[in-house]
């Protein structure tokens, strides 16, 4: 059924386009009418002719329909009904087909014209809707004013903006919306849109539903403003949070060692002679140890400051991972009791591009972390190797490990897991390690339990220096 309908529609479309087909149709119905008349079917003959005229009127419009009607009535009255060619307009029989055919043509032509107008109107509003839809879906993704400008420039041509949107804004939109939207219009058309598809440029000013279009634009600008405000206030809140945390950490981590030093020093000063040599020695040890702690804390604060200020000026140079690991291990050992370390790396340089002092601090921080959160008898493995263009360093302890809910947070500044609340760390070491490693183009990840036990494993990868890779490839 529907295929018949579709065929009918495509035949009508073909008729609309081709004059020859129209002529052929006319000749066909003429012949059919003639044949019907001479086989004693006068009603069929008249109806066939009438239908032909109506089809032509409907498909080719009023003018063609009327021409067809006049010609058809002449042929019908003169040739078919009166084969003797008596063109004498006396009989009523002559006028009936003339009026009938012309009336049918008029009716069908007018109906066709109105249909055509409707279709054109519908087509136009569809394309306007399409444009609005397209624009709106582009605006959905916009979070900054720049994105709105990009969406605008990729939807309509600069002419439309100049001749349509701008005048409309000035006439119909009130402040402050007007200047907010004008700000978008004043933005330079983004450079990457120069090669945009040409069809967006074809749209003329009159093709655009300006009120709806400008409404969309204004709403998107509003939304971006709100989003920006919110992001700003969130950032402000975060930085306030961070400041509070830094200050509370500072006061705690500075005050504790100072308290110990102060107590030891004043005791020695006042009761020095009365104290046993062992106690005096212990107090002096306290002062020394707490000074080291203060020194390390200030070093970390300095690194933290470097990270907060952005690590652009890192002064990277070729740095030997193996050498810096050795140095960091020696420094970490000097601060505490003897530790069992299982070192696995080749006796040859493993060169990455990094700031050596910062990279040493990365390794030191991770080792210090491992040392302070595990019992002295726990073994710690340090593995370094070259792997697929990267230097990979794994520092793995055999301690109690880190709970899953804490593992996600151990690289955050000032984070201390519940297990580590009692220890002396400030929660900066791993944060600095992550910041520095990432600044050198590397990655850092934590895993607990790891493949060899329940403890914590920190794995670092850093890209090997290029020229070194080339030398190895040459060799």
């Amino acid at each position: 059924m529907s295929s018949v309908f579709l065929q009918g529609r495509s035949a009508a479309r073909a008729l609309r386009k081709s004059k020859a087909l129209t002529a052929l149709l006319f000749v066909t119905v003429t012949v059919a009418s003639y044949a019907a008349h001479f086989t004693e079917r006068p009603i069929t003959s008249a109806l066939v002719y009438l239908m032909g005229v109506m089809v032509i009127g409907a498909s080719r419009g009023l003018r063609s329909g009327l021409i067809a009607a006049v010609v058809a009535s002449l042929i019908y009255s003169g040739l078919i009904r009166n084969p003797a060619f008596q063109f004498v307009p006396t009989s009523l029989d002559y006028y009936v087909p003339l009026f009938g055919f012309n009336f049918a043509a008029l009716l069908s032509g007018m109906l066709a014209g109105r249909l055509k107008d409707r279709a054109e109107l519908a087509e136009e509003s569809r394309s306007q809707l399409d444009l609005l839809l397209q624009f709106s879906s582009k605006l959905q993704k916009a979070v900054r004013i720049e994105d709105v400008a990009q969406a605008l420039y990729s939807t309509v041509s600069p002419d439309v903006i100049r001749d349509g949107i701008r005048p409309y804004l000035n006439e119909h939109i009130e402040e402050p919306e007007r200047s907010a939207v004008l700000k978008v219009l004043d933005m330079e058309s983004p450079a990457d849109l120069i090669g945009m598809p040409a069809d967006t440029h074809r749209l003329a000013v009159q093709d655009i539903d300006l009120p709806a279009f400008v409404d969309l634009l204004s709403m998107a600008v509003d939304r971006c403003g709100l989003l920006e405000d919110r992001a700003e206030s969130q950032a402000r809140l975060r930085s306030e949070d961070l400041k509070t945390t830094i200050l509370s950490s500072l006061s705690h981590d500075l005050r504790t060692p100072i308290a110990a030093i102060s107590a030891s020093a004043t005791s020695l000063k006042r009761f020095g002679d009365a104290l046993s040599p062992a106690v005096r020695e212990q107090m002096l040890d306290t002062i020394e140890h707490q000074c080291t702690r203060l020194d390390q804390f200030t070093a970390k604060l300095l690194s933290f400051g470097r990270l907060q200020g952005g690590v652009a000026a890192l002064q990277s140079e070729p740095a030997d991972v193996a050498e810096l690991l050795g140095k960091a291990i020696a420094t970490a050992r000097a601060n505490g009791p003897e530790r069992l370390l299982n070192k696995q790396w080749a006796d040859k340089p493993l060169i990455v591009m990094a700031n050596p002092a910062m990279l040493e601090q990365v390794f030191f921080n991770i080792l210090e972390n491992a040392f302070s959160y595990t019992a002295p008898e726990c073994a710690i493995a340090v593995i370094a190797e070259a792997h697929e263009g990267h230097a990979s360093v794994v520092i793995r302890d055999n301690g109690p490990g880190v709970a899953a809910e804490s593992l996600d947070h151990i690289f955050e500044p000032f984070f201390r897991s519940n297990q580590s609340k009692h220890t002396t760390g400030q929660g900066l070491g791993l944060f600095i390690a992550k910041g520095f490693v990432e600044a050198f183009g590397g990655t850092i990840a934590a895993c607990s339990p790891h493949s060899a036990g329940p403890g914590l494993e920190i794995a670092i990868t850093l890209p090997l220096a290029k020229d070194i890779l080339e030398i190895e490839a040459d060799g």
């Binding site: 020394e288 000074c291 020194d295 070093a299 300095l302 002064q315 140079e317 070729p318 030997d320 193996a322 050498e323 810096l324 690991l325 050795g326 140095k327 291990i329 020696a330 070192k343 790396w345 006796d347 040859k348 340089p349 060169i351 700031n355 050596p356 002092a357 040493e360 020229d467 070194i468 030398i471």
Partner: protein, 227 residues
């Protein structure tokens, strides 16, 4: 006569603490500013100068050059740990050694002893002897833990440079000059040769005790000299 030491630091607490300690072995003077230091150095030829790089009235490089010109024998720069660039500039600009602040007094005493050991150019030293390492500069004979060690000429040149400044930092630039006669030579070669040296002269090359790294600056030979 005891060796003369000049402490240049604008922080009185440091000078006040160090002066009585050092005065047990040396003659000690202090200066709180660059101007005062230069005034003193004009009258006395100091054996060791301890110079804090954070002086308010002088640029570190400038004062090092001036002190050198006034025939100070050895300059030890005191600076914060993270100031690698500053350290390297001071060392390449004429300072003999550096010490990170804060420091413990043992480290300072060791630096001063190392500075005083370094000979005047008039009396060239022929060999180096410490508890674990013996080096003869003329015959190129090297013994580690009383066993002969064979070194390549490059390795020996680097070891000699480190031994001649035993206990003091030797910058990468100085080592490149010693080994390749070119301060702009490839640092990668230096690293490789230091690694080779460590394999021959360290008990645990992965955690060197003898040839230690001064990160970002150079290397230091840690050795207790036999008297």
């Amino acid at each position: 006569m005891a060796e003369q030491i000049l402490i240049i630091d604008d922080e009185p607490a440091i000078a006040q603490t160090l002066k009585p300690v050092l005065a047990q072995h040396y003659t000690v003077a202090t200066a709180g500013s660059a101007a005062e230091a230069l005034r003193r150095a004009r009258h006395t030829a100091y054996d060791v100068v301890l110079l804090d790089l954070g002086l308010p009235d002088a640029d570190g490089k400038e004062i090092i050059a001036n002190l050198r010109a006034l025939s100070c024998r050895s300059i030890i720069v005191l600076s914060a740990r993270h100031q690698e660039t500053e350290k390297v500039a001071a060392l390449d600009g004429g300072a003999d050694d550096h010490l990170n602040t804060p420091f413990c007094i043992d480290a300072l005493m060791a630096r001063i002893r190392a500075a005083l050991r370094c000979p005047n150019s008039t009396a060239p030293v022929q060999n180096f002897r410490s508890k674990e390492l013996k080096v003869d500069f003329a015959t190129h004979r090297v013994q580690f833990m009383d066993e002969d060690v064979k070194l390549s000429p490059k390795e020996f040149a680097l070891l000699e440079a480190l031994c001649r400044h035993a206990g003091q930092v030797v910058t990468r630039r100085q080592l490149l000059l010693a080994g390749w006669n070119d301060p702009a030579a490839d640092g990668q070669n230096l690293r490789t040769y230091i690694t080779l040296l460590r394999q021959k002269l360290e008990v645990d090359p992965g955690e060197p005790q003898l040839i230690v790294t001064e990160t970002g600056v150079g290397y230091r030979l840690m050795a207790t000299l036999e008297s």
